[in-house]
């Protein structure tokens, strides 16, 4: 079984509409899966469900989340948190809000290792220095003593990557980790994440809306519309011939500078209506189609 295996996961707003509709997907060790969709499609929601950080306004109504073969949703909350904490990490979207502005960088990386995983302070400090070197920060000692505002956006994102890999997690959820960065920095950061992931053999769930980014870092992808997985393909398959009309339209809407006439075709209304009908049919469906 894959390290992460989600089966028929449904999530809804309490007394509100469904947000995820029987989502199933797997991420094996050493594999990168992209989660793609428009805003509101539920892609971040999947990452949050896996990490046990769903907002209190939503509830899981059915399904299983197997982490290394154990269904997290059947465990007592304390035990499931312990397992997630020991084997998973998050690379968040916005590196400025994810770092505490009033603390130096060093403790923000090491405190978790010391307080939760029981490392010695010296080991944790040494590990932080090694990691900063691994994410190509030239002067780790200075950076560890810095405050977040003293560093650039790219630098802060490197720190969060280092921090995510600190406890050798088996699974990392990266939630649009480069949206806030400009393209040249994005390229460095993506290479860094892909390189670290490959070296450490981590399973990576990569949330993004950019199919260009998917084609660079992912091996497989799931395309979501309104919480419904409409496509689950390998990256070469998808870019050669998408299996669903909606995901094909999404690909056609992605601009491509090498071909000025390609891209900027909005998803046609007929395709939107068809995929909406699919969602509606799913909601009506007898035993969920």
């Amino acid at each position: 079984m894959s390290f992460l295996s989600i089966r028929n996961l449904s999530v809804r707003l309490k007394n509100g509409p469904p947000l995820l509709r029987r989502v199933s997907l797997d991420v094996a060790a050493g594999e990168v899966r992209g989660l793609v969709g428009e805003s509101g499609a539920g892609k971040s929601m999947i990452g949050k469900a896996v990490l046990g950080i769903l907002p209190p306004s939503v509830q899981i109504t059915e399904g299983e989340i197997f982490l290394d073969g154990t269904d997290l949703l059947r465990l007592p909350p304390k035990e499931s948190r312990r397992r997630i904490g020991a084997s998973c990490a998050l690379i968040p979207q916005d590196p400025l809000t994810a770092l505490n502005p009033s603390h130096r960088i060093g403790p923000q990386i090491t405190d978790r290792l010391v307080d939760i995983l029981g490392w010695t302070r010296a080991n944790a400090d040494a590990r932080a220095r090694d990691l900063l070197a691994e994410v190509q920060i030239a002067d780790p000692d200075r950076v560890l003593r810095s405050y977040p505002h003293e560093l650039s956006g790219g630098m802060r994102q490197r720190i969060l990557i280092a921090s995510a890999f600190a406890a050798e997690p088996k699974l990392i959820v990266a939630d649009e980790p480069t949206t806030a960065l400009d393209v040249t920095v994005q390229k460095q950061i993506l290479r860094l994440i892909a390189g670290m992931q490959a070296r450490h053999g981590t399973a990576l769930l990569f949330v993004t809306h950019d199919l260009g980014v998917v084609s660079k870092v992912c091996q497989r992808l799931s395309v979501l519309y309104s919480g419904l997985v409409v496509e689950d393909s390998t990256v070469p398959e998808f870019f050669a011939s998408p299996s669903h009309a909606y995901s094909a339209a999404l690909l056609a809407a992605t601009p491509k500078y090498t071909d000025p006439d390609a891209g900027l075709h909005p998803v046609p209304e007929a395709v939107v209506n068809a995929v909406r009908a699919e969602v509606a049919a799913f909601d009506r469906g007898p035993a969920h189609g």
């Binding site: 805003s39 956006g153 199919l211 809407a253 500078y257």
Partner: protein
Amino acid sequence: MADLYTIEDLRLSLADMTAKPLFGHAPRIEILKGLSFTIPKGAVVGIVGGSGSGKSTLGRALVRLLEPSGGSVRFDGHDITHLSEPALRPLRRRFQMIFQDPMSSLNPRQRVGTIIAEPLRLHRMDAIPDRVARTLGHVGLPQAFASRYPHELSGGQRQRVGIARAIALEPDFILADEIVSGLDVSSQAQVLNLLERLVADLGLTLAFISHDLSVIRRLCQRTIVLHQGQIVEDRPTADLFADPKAPYTRELLEAIPLPDPAQVWV
């Protein structure tokens, strides 16, 4: 064609608040380091650059939300470099701006109709309801949207309201600062197609600031590449993409992730 904007040796410096001592003045930091270019009437010019390259500062100097510290900005023959706010007022009608984040640039307590009417009222225009209705038509929003609030709209619809507010005064020039970077590819395509149509229908001159060269490639005839407050390249877009001269332009181009697994970054 006549030039709408003539910019000569434009310099702009701002206070560097990150280096401000607890007491006393913050040191000035030069953001724009002597830019010279022109924007002809009817042109669609792209302005690209990485974060911190000065592209938004340049945009804000063009519409005089910031006052240059040196050089000159001429708009249709008027020197607006250091013009006072009352003297600028009649000209402001002619250059408008669309902002990046429609959620934070639209007043959440005002209805769409009020938002679009606001610049019309400020400039004491007549027949405001007719103009609002016509503007909603231009951006392809149903008339009923006039009574909605921004939070009831999708991101793409909100950005249409931002565009409507900018074109309501029938300006000559529009500055669009990263207006699609927060949108999904599909809404992005819709908004850009709309903008392209409006430029043609209303005879607008457009400066389009973006970090996304793929979007610039599709929309703009000419592209200005900024790097650290200086122009490193200013050429017709097709030439620039076919044969980028400046190393920074090449770096920018190579950093765009094409939706194609054949392009490999290793």
